[in-house]
């Protein structure tokens, strides 16, 4: 049974159609790599999954719960969108760490704010905050930055910042972690450390959706590959199918350009 189900997703900005007829599914613990040339709609798809854009139509469901239903016209309130977003985490291309907080505080902030909504927050404030910090420390350790807890974002390299961003997204314990070209803003020598972290998450069976231009990485790490072209799913299958035996002519052409 599939964990993430996307059906017939469609999104347009004004007159230009950006996503059309996007359908795919993903099992729990699998990672999906989304590849395709710039402007093919990869990032928009990811932003739709995270409710940063609201699709025109289609459905998105996770673990049987419908998060978005384009046929149900009742508009979502801000609070409903906020709740549904928590099923997903997103790591941005440009990190987007909060500059005024230390690395550790970047990881704990959202959890602390969210904990205030718990009914027992007042009585157990100290214990809740301590648990959040403990979790954040172990996540920072997991991304290899336990020695940078008190550093501010501007004191960290791009690769370190992105690893903090990954820890920050993991802290909320999302069902699915999404990555939007996580290494595109990094110097080549820094991409390795970020990809290593993502790879270890895949080894731990974290369900992930990764938009990437790193073909070798996509091939090695993902369980499913989705090739997008012109706002549509051009080809969807296992990495072997897509990379070794692409059926579609446009997939072949794209891969040839990338293998250079």
């Amino acid at each position: 049974m599939s964990f993430l189900e996307v059906n017939n997703l469609r999104k347009s900005f004004g007159a230009s159609l950006v996503l059309e007829n996007i359908s795919f599914s993903l099992a729990k613990g699998e990672s999906l790599a989304i590849i395709g040339s710039s402007g093919s709609g990869k990032t928009t798809l990811l932003r739709c999954l995270n409710f940063l854009e609201i699709p025109d139509s289609g459905t998105i469901s996770i673990n049987g719960e419908t998060l978005f239903d384009g046929d149900n016209p009742s508009p979502l309130t801000d609070n409903e969108i906020r709740k549904r977003r928590l099923h997903l985490g997103l790591v941005f291309q440009s990190f987007n760490l909060f500059p005024q907080y230390t690395a550790l505080k970047n990881v704990t902030l959202a959890c602390e704010l969210l904990a205030r909504e718990k009914p027992d927050y007042k009585e157990n404030r100290k214990a809740i905050i301590a648990a959040i910090e403990k979790n954040a420390r172990s996540l920072m350790d997991q991304v290899g930055l336990s020695n940078k807890l008190d550093f501010y974002p501007h004191q960290l390299s791009g690769g370190q910042q992105q690893r903090v961003a990954i820890a920050r997204a993991l802290a909320l314990n999302p069902d699915i972690l999404c990555f939007d070209e996580p290494t595109s803003a990094l110097d080549p020598e820094l991409t390795g450390e970020v990809l290593r972290v993502i790879r270890s998450l895949a080894d731990q069976k974290t369900t992930m959706v990764i938009v990437t231009h790193e073909m070798q990485f996509a091939r090695e790490v993902s369980d499913k590959v989705l090739f997008m072209d012109n706002g549509t799913v051009a080809e969807y299958g296992s990495p072997e199918e897509i990379f070794a035996n692409p059926r579609e002519e446009r997939t072949k052409q794209f891969l040839e350009r990338y293998s250079g």
Partner: protein, 215 residues
């Protein structure tokens, strides 16, 4: 004319100067914030209205605005005029709110979209995003232009004399007529210098306090 007597008189004038400065600062900041929200509104007529307002206020001299606030209501509608000091305060607050609003707008708009989006995907509410993520970044960005504007305000208070509000310059000028001496006028400059010096130190401190992060 003894130095002590002059100092005493000038201090009295400076009290009025300081009053205009302080009231303007305290009221123009919240008022400016409201105007800046208007100028960023998605509702077009409101945006248009605030932009026209800011244009009119920035496009005319403050001295003229003081005169209009003082004489205008009486001449146009036959109202009793505001007391002189109140008229000055109204004109100053409106004028500085318009300038502040543009500083606030540029500060808020210069925070990258990604900061809001990062807050959103982390499940924060709109007000949490504004107060926990955006606000301090805006403050850091606007401290330098605000210090500039606030230091200008100190000296603009001298325009109050145009409707005979007895601030420090007017007090000093009176000595030219009453005692035929001009040095009190020159001496009044020292008061401005001292006050602006203190403000400069204060803003420098604030900038240093916010230098632990970069935006």
């Amino acid at each position: 004319m003894s130095f002590n007597v002059v100092t005493q008189t000038l201090l009295e004038g400076f009290l009025t100067t300081f009053l205009i400065f302080a009231v303007t600062l305290v009221l123009a900041i919240p008022f400016g914030l409201i105007i800046s929200f208007g100028s960023m509104s998605r509702f077009r007529p409101l945006r248009w209205l605030t932009k026209t307002f800011v244009w009119a206020i920035r496009g005319t001299p403050l001295m003229l605005q003081i005169i209009i606030v003082f004489y205008g209501p009486g001449l146009i509608w036959g109202w009793t005029a505001f007391p002189r000091l109140e008229a000055v305060l109204i004109a100053f607050v409106i004028n500085y709110a318009a300038y502040f609003s543009e500083i606030f707008r540029s500060g808020i708009e210069s925070v990258p979209r990604g900061q809001y989006e990062a807050g959103q995907v982390l499940g924060m509410t709109k007000s949490q995003i504004f107060f926990k993520v955006i606000l301090l970044q805006v403050i850091k960005r606007i401290v330098p232009p605000m210090s500039n504007e606030i230091i200008t305000l100190v000296k603009d208070t001298s325009l109050a004399r145009v409707i005979a509000v007895r601030e420090i310059i007017m007090q000093a000028e009176d000595y030219i007529r009453s005692a035929a001496i001009i040095w009190p006028l020159f001496y009044s400059g020292a008061f401005y210098l001292l006050f602006c010096g203190i403000l400069t130190l204060l803003f420098g401190y604030l900038e240093r306090r916010l230098s632990y992060f970069k935006v």
